[in-house]
Every structure is written in C-alpha cells, then in structure tokens.
C-alpha cells in the first residue's frame, strides 16, 4: 500500500509544478504584432546570444521610435534566454505559439534550429534565423527564413582575394572539430581551396576551450604552407594568432566566419594584423544606417557590436520592412509578407531573400589592419 501512495504523490507533485509553469507563459499583452526572439544569452554560447539580445533590444526601441519604419503598426518583441539548451528553445517556442506570436527570431545555434524550427513549421509560424549558417536550415519548411550568409556564400570570395593578392599555392587548415560553426569552416574551405588550385598540405584540429595550440602550429610550420586557414571562433582564434607568432609563423592568414568579431582584436592585439576574413558585415562597412547603429550600440552597451549583433538588427529591419509593406495581422500573413518583402536596405547592406529564403546578398572580404577591420584590396 505504501508504494501506491508514493506513486500518487510523485505524479501530483509533477502536475502541480506543471501548472505553475503555465502561469508564467499565459500573461499576454495585445499589441498589433507580437514577435518572440530566442537567444542563448547564458551558457557556452552566451557571448553570441548576448550580442543578438542587445541588438534586438536596440531594434525594438528603434521600431517604437520610428527609426525603423513598420508602417505605424506596433510590434512588441519578447526576448527570451534559452541558455544554450535546445530543450529551452523548444519550450519557449511552444509557449510562444500559444500567445499569438507571429514571428520567431533565432535561435542562436543551427543545432538548436534543427530541433526547434520543425515545431514552428507545424504551427505555421515563420522563423527568421539571424545566425544559423548550417546547410539545410531553410529546407525545413516553407516559412523558415534566414538573413545570415552561410559560409559557402562567403568563402569563394575570400579564396579569390587571397589568390589574387598573395598568389598562394599551398594552404594548411586548423579547425575545431567539436563545434558546428568551425567544422563547417573546414568542410567548405577543404572543398573550395583545391577547386581554386590551392593544395591543402596539412590539416590540424583542436577542441572548443583548448588553450594550447603550439603543438599543432609547430607541425603546420613544418609543412611550410603559403597561407594558414583558421576555422575557429574568436576565443580560440585569438590564442591561435598569438601562439602562431610565438612559434615563429609569420605567413598569410585567413580567418573563418568566427574571426569577424572585435573581441579577437581586443584579445590578440598586434598578432591579429594582416588576417583576412570573409564576413557578412564589419563595423566599418559603409552600409545604410550602419554608422548610427554602431554608435548607438556602443553607447548603450559600452562595447562595439559584432556580426551576430549586426545580423540580428538587420533581421528586425527586414521583418519590419515586410510589416510596413503588407501589414500582416497574424503568423500566416507575416510569412507571406516576408516572401514579398523584396529588397531592403539594412546595416549588413542591400538585402533580399533568394528563392530558397536564404540570404541573397554578398559578403565582404575584410582585413584586420592596426586594430580595425577594413576592406581588403
């Protein structure tokens, strides 16, 4: 008898806590349009999610103030932290469907998008990915959009630039084999370099969070490549650049998408000079409204924006433009509005969606020179 009562008590407690959870989700306000943004502002991807959250808060304020036109239609953006946990992304998304959300912005990581976006597809709510670069994101459903350029769209231009200016024949690649961003860098560079007639002479790997790369860099030094390609995010990237100098490597260097962050200059300092990076945006880009965006962001958050912030802000600009043009009233309306938004001037440059709802835009090839990113000639 004792155990049966124990089972009842256990399930009752579960039920009780579930009820409490819904209390938090049901408070809904009734603006014209309600968007939900899902970013990882805590946990391992906290650095990127925080930039996105900051940028979207700025965009929400700019929409209310009319700096980003939305045709007078009020838009409230509920920004939630998913703590680098796919389970939380899913839970936020599902509660959002319940309170009239007409657009999901995010999530930060492609691995989270692959798990959560199918729910939005089933609920017919459009998703705007602002940092998902993996292949296959937009194929998940007719209303899954993204404004983040995938590596495949940027890398060929970078390789072209490197061949034209540096006449490189051989290359070595070092990348993090346990992170989706950096693994994607490797897969694409390893495919495109030979196509451009550049022979890959050595490939080395490391793991997220490693602090010492001298062993790999010494091995690369032995292979004497004309250029070194780093598939790394800013934290490991800065240490790689620093230790490359220590080990006596002074050749040409190319950084993957993860290098496009002011943090890498702050951390690596002089060691970062000369590196060229394929980027969807950089602080110095003379794109429409970019200077104001950089100034406002730096003023509000006391650090300069990175690519994650720029793409999140641009995502809001594109969605607001769609609202201004078609005045959608619900999720379905929002989806068709995004499909017909046409070309939009954003901080990451003139933007329009390709037929596959990926970004049909060009990236920039930039070089780190005395402490800032500038166009690579």
């Amino acid at each position: 008898m004792r155990n049966i009562t124990r089972v009842l008590i256990a399930t009752a407690a579960l039920g009780g806590t579930l009820a409490a959870a819904t209390g938090a989700g049901l408070a809904a306000s009734h603006p014209d349009l309600k968007w939900t943004a899902i970013f990882d502002s805590t946990g391992p991807a906290g650095a990127y999610g925080t930039s996105q959250k900051n940028a979207l808060e700025l965009a929400a304020a700019d929409i209310d103030a009319g700096k980003i036109e939305s045709g007078g239609q009020k838009i409230s953006i509920d920004i939630q932290d998913s703590a680098t946990s796919p389970a939380q992304v899913i839970n936020i998304m599902q509660s959002a469907f319940g309170n009239g959300t007409s657009l999901i912005v995010g999530p930060t990581l492609s691995s989270e998008a692959f798990k959560a976006d199918p729910l939005a597809v089933k609920a017919n709510v459009p998703v705007m990915g602002v940092s998902n670069t993996a292949n296959g994101i937009t194929e998940m459903g007719p209303c899954v959009f993204r404004n983040s350029l995938s590596e495949a769209q940027i890398v060929p231009d970078v390789i072209e630039a490197a061949k034209k200016s540096w006449h490189v024949k051989t290359a070595a690649i070092i990348y993090g084999d346990d992170d989706q961003f950096t693994k994607a860098d490797y897969t694409i560079f390893n495919a495109d370099l030979p196509k451009a007639g550049v022979k890959v002479v050595d490939v080395e790997t490391f793991h997220k969070g490693d602090v010492d790369f001298k062993a790999q860099l010494t091995k690369i030094k032995e292979a004497k490549p004309d250029v070194i390609v780093y598939g790394a995010l800013y934290a490991e990237g800065a240490k790689l650049l620093d230790q490359a100098r220590q080990v006596g490597l002074h050749g040409h260097e190319i950084g993957g998408n993860g290098f496009n962050s002011p943090q890498i200059i702050a951390l690596a300092g002089k060691a970062a000079d000369g590196v060229i990076v394929g980027a969807a945006w950089y602080a110095g880009a003379e794109t429409n409204g970019n200077a104001a965006f950089v100034k406002n962001y730096t003023a509000k958050y006391s650090k300069s924006p990175d690519q994650f912030a720029a793409q999140a802000y641009a995502g809001a600009q594109i969605a607001a433009a769609a609202v201004k043009k078609s005045h959608p009233a619900d999720a379905a309306g929002m989806c068709s509005a995004l499909k017909q938004v046409g070309s939009v001037q954003t901080v990451i440059g003139p933007f329009k969606f390709a037929s596959t709802r990926d970004a049909d835009a060009h990236g920039f090839v930039v070089q780190i020179k005395n402490g800032t990113f500038s166009k690579f000639e």
């Binding site: 805590t42 790997t205 969070g209 602090v211 800013y234 300092g269």
Partner: protein, 294 residues
Amino acid sequence: MFDQQLANGIFLGAVYALFAVGYTLIFGVLDILNLAHSAIFMASSFVALALVRHGVPFWAAFLAATMFGGALSVVLDRVAFAPLRARGVGGGALGPLISSIAFGIIVVSVMRGIFGPDEIGYPSGSVPTANLHLGHASFTAMDLSVLLVSLVMMILLSLLLKATPLGRAIRAVAENTKAASLLGINVEHTIGLTFLIAGALGAAAGILIGAQFNAVGILMGQRIELKGLAVIILGGMGSIPGAVLGGFLLGLLEVFSVAYLSSSYRDAIAFAVMFLILIVRPSGLLGKRAGRTA
C-alpha cells in the same frame, strides 16, 4: 622541430600541473572530488584582471587574487562541505560532489553577472610576454614563469606537508579524521586551512594561465577541469608530486601525440591513458591509496 615540441610539451605540462596540485590536495585529504575548484580558478583570474585594469602591477594583483581564491575556497568549505561533514556524510559519497557542483554553478553565474559572458584579455604591456629562445625552441616569459611557479609550488607544498606541524596535521586528517581528532588535532581548523591552501593554488593557476594565454572567461575553468582529472589520476590521487609529474607527462603525451599521430585524437589519448591507469593501477604513479577496499 623536436625541441620546439619538447618545449611545448613541458610548458603545457606546467599548466596542467599547476591546476592539478590544488585539485589533488583536497582529494587526498578529504577524499572529495571538488568540482568547484575550477570555479575558484576562474573567479580569481577575473579578480586579478580587474585589479590590473585598475593599474595594479601584475605581480601585486597576482598575490591579492591568490588570497581571494584562498578565501573563496574557505567559504566553499563552510557552505558546501562543512554542513555535510557535520552530518557524517563522509568523503567518497555523492553529497559533497553535488554540493561542489552547485557552488560552482553559483560562482560562474555571479561572475557572468559582473564581467559578462565574453573572454577578455589583459591590457597590452601589463603582462610580461617577451618572446624568448633556447636553441630552436621559442617560448614566452609567461610560459617560463608558469613553469617556475608550478615547480616552486610543488616543492613548497611538499615541504609544508612533510616538515611543518600544519603539514603533519593535514596528513593525519587525510589518514583518518577520527583518529586525528583523538590526537588533539582541531580537524575543522585543519580542513579549513587545507581549503585555503588548495584555493590559493587554484587561484594562482587561474591567474597565471589567464595571463599566459591572455584570455579570462567564465568557462575557462570548466574546460581544464576534465583534463585536470586525467592528471591527478595519472599522478596518483592525493599525491602532490604525483600531480606535477602527471601534469608534465600528460602535457608531453598530448604534444607528441599531435606531432607524430593526429591532433584529432589528442584528447582521446589523454582520457584513454586515464582509463587504463584506473583499471590497471588505480593508485596512479605515486599515489599511496589504491582503489581502497571498503
């Protein structure tokens, strides 16, 4: 090429040894796997960086932050371990492991609140990073200082444990807390001091490694923690010289596995060695206590 890799291996080994010394001390004395050690390692690194940013010279900031680490470690003991000890939940049990994880989560969360989620570096010029050369191998002044500090730490700590009354008290508590208290040793006081020392060691490691790689971030501790586990197993749980020996061996093993095998299995080899040592010789190279029978 060989002597550059050898240098890489030795300096990496010093990093592992420095982290492992504090880690193994707590395990050796209290038979507790202290998963909050990495949080103290990280928090002290941030404190040192904050001091340097306010103009405090590096080595002064180093001493102050090491004291902070020691103090935080005593707080850890009071909050997470002492209540369990009071209720007789001894070492080797689940409680202390979880309470150390909980304390670690709290420290990481507070640090993120104060310093933000990004990795931040030392202002240029505040840390000695001159490039030095010895034969074909090149390394930085910080590499050298990490090596020297870890060796000095080992010698000092071994001396302290062997030759001072506090050291004898710590070793008595390590052998048997009940017996130690019968011999008139104030066990709680000794444990408190042990945490102070282990915390200071962890702090020193955090500050130096943060400066050496010019990267202080809230996740820096978690990543070296699992590697530290491999080191203290290799060297022998609870043995200070073992932790240093284990650190250098693992550093060399990793570097040469990259140099002569493939870098993608660098970490796998470290954990495979740990796995084998546990199966074949749980007491590690210098550890006294084998997988103690009940």
